[in-house]
Amino acid sequence: MTGIVDYGVGNLFSLRSSLKFIGEEADLIADPDKLRLYDRIILPGVGAFGDAAKKLRDTGLGEETVRLAKSGKPVMGICLGMQLLLDKSLEFGEHRGLGLISGEVRPISETIPKGLKIPHIGWNGLDFKPHEIFKDIKQGDCVYFVHSFHATSCPDVIATTDYGAPLVAAVAKDSVVGCQFHPEKSGEVGLKILRAFCRLG
């Protein structure tokens, strides 16, 4: 059973549907005391970092996610949810993240060549290191991205994608993984990644 952290941001319909589709039961969890009842946790997120980080703090869901991650429970952050795993973000001011993964979130405009469109929207290939979540996919397989910020100064990168320059596509440390892309919107490849994550824990 997977608990999807529901802290009032983003649309969780597709994520929940994709888990159901691969045969994984998933509940939306707004009560931090219930999170520990699940085998694994997904931290989703769309929108602004500062607002999301505040909501995670105010609800207690952030603190509980950190506690469970440190106890070894598998946690996957998706898109903004991945960025929230890091130490901090420089999106519209400086905001503190959950600090489960070292690094900071900065605008992709600082990294990519001028003239490329921002956000980085669409299908792009993965260049990944061996990791359990990538067990069933091939190098170069495409996944769907929508983002204007990305992880930097991060020692725990397990995948990058090329948008004029390498951008961090996934991070992992101990039982925590994060995907900048949307596995729930990445067709068969994305479902394979979710399936592999659901075998953890």
């Binding site: 929508v146 990445s186 479902l191």
Partner: protein, 252 residues
Amino acid sequence: MLRKRIIPCLDVRDGKVTKGINFLGNKDIADPVELAEFYSSCGADELVFYDITASAEGRGIFTDILKKAASSVFIPLTVGGGIRTLEDFDRVLKCGADKVSVNSGAVADKTLIRKAAERYGSQCVVISADVKRSGGKFVVTARGGRDETGLEAKEWIRYCVSEGAGEVVLNSMDTDGVKGGFDIEMLKYVCEGLPVPVIASGGAGKTEDFIELFHELPWVDAGLAASVFHYKEIEINKLKEALSDSGVPMRI
């Protein structure tokens, strides 16, 4: 490298895809969910659902279909048709849409795009413009080409992007349905240099039309079509292979 996208568009009326006949050999597929599943399995990079019902009852059927599609198809879904208020955005986003496309609604309420982008983010807001040549200019039409709005297309689209639209669909009413190729001239004049993704629509009749589009206008991000896919005049997997062979980066 970011891939170019191929996007089939499903016009849905009273729960059925219009033009969704003669599909898959002798079997007629007019069920939008089945068709969406089929396209996804053929390599479609994204799907557009266009609601062309007018009644409140039709709206309900449409959102049910959207929910079903979003429960079995896991590629990005864009929804358009009849989007006039933030409540309309809310209704379709809750049913699994990833992006919402506005057309006449943005012409009627010039603040709609800004309000939607502030609430849901620019990545969620698509401006779709039906454009035709008139009096030596490219002008924006509303209500499916029936009304001229008096808006000049290039200015209008730049205004929409400055208001927060995160993607542009340019549909040429002059080439739409003609199947003689995309409207390269209009796309180039109206959309070149935009800082957001551009989706070309109107005029695709054969594989070569897509090849021409992406080679002539390398900054175009996606090609959209409807009936050529519905009638299987072009098969998406073969189209993507042909594009890839011609040097266009595709997700194969």
